[in-house]
Amino acid sequence: MLRTAVLLVVLGLAVLGAGSAQAADFEAKLAIRDHKFDPPQLDVPAGAKVKLTVENQDATPEEFESTDLNREKIVVGKGTIVVFLGPLDAGKYHFFGDFHQETAQGDLIAK
């Protein structure tokens, strides 16, 4: 019963995931270097669905997080992640690296 339930959920999501379109109107890129974001300010068009790629050039893991955007995702050392955003209203959305908050801070500007 337990195992069946868990298995069904996982399978269902895998099917959903494989079948999803994951289409975006705009692609943006962000790098993490020495526990800082590059660029620290990223411009994206408002009202567009954005595919944000975050490349971690450090050897240590980081968590890309934004309470403004309601997103959080681990990026392993030397790893790359993709996060889908929006469509966003015009405005400033703060993001940070949860594991190195003293330095890893940035803003996404939708306009």
Binding site: L2, V9, L13, Q22, T60, D68, V76, V83, P87, F99
Partner: protein
Amino acid sequence: MLGTGLLVFREVLEAALIVSIVCAATRGVRARGAWVAGGIASGVLGALLVAFFADVIAAAVSGVGQELFNASVLLAAVVMIAWHAIWMASHGKELATQMKSVGGAVQSGARPLSALLIVVAIAVLREGSEVVLFLYGQAASGAGAIAIAGGIALGVVGGVAVGFLLYFGLLGIPMRYFFSATNWLMLLLAAGLASQAAGFLIQADVLPALGNRIWDTSALLSDASLLGKTLHTLIGYDARPAGMQIVFYAITAAVIALGMKIWGGSPKLAPRAG
């Protein structure tokens, strides 16, 4: 050390709050300590595994493996909590009566404790894997062993202390309302976890957001604040929920409430509205 302690605290807190509710809901059950400890131990083991395979999980299913993994374990926890809550609704009254008469241990009977073991394990696994990755990074960038160990100690002690506070607070609820109160807490917990799962599926672009910000109460109570985080874990508070999150929340709450009403029988435990 303080920075390390703070991050560890935040993650431990989230898991500790869930464990506290589970502990309260299993009040008086024989050997529940062993079940909870088993759940925590499996969670720690799982956290190490998940952290170790983080890159494999992240790369799976065209880069959205992490979201699908998170959503899957969250939804598994939702199913387990729903099962237990509905079971409790149909047996809670006898339990409370029994506990009042014998004033202590009652038989677990056919109670689905394994379901709650899984919930505890999942809570620890999710938060623990982040802690492991974070600490691994700290160690790799040359933080001292003392700073790391001190941070872990601070964070764990702090998080567990808040968990105990919640647990003993819940024990203050009068016995005749106790199990219906913990059952409702479990319902809200499950609805909140379902909403979090929806958030991950939106992030992976598997589900449509149905509106990115249905409302914004971040000025009133931010998700980043301690209270915001606590309510986020306990009842699924979200300062800026997406439409799909609200749909998941409402459906989960309605299904569990309906299940409790149908199988509950006792009017005291039955919800006012489905």
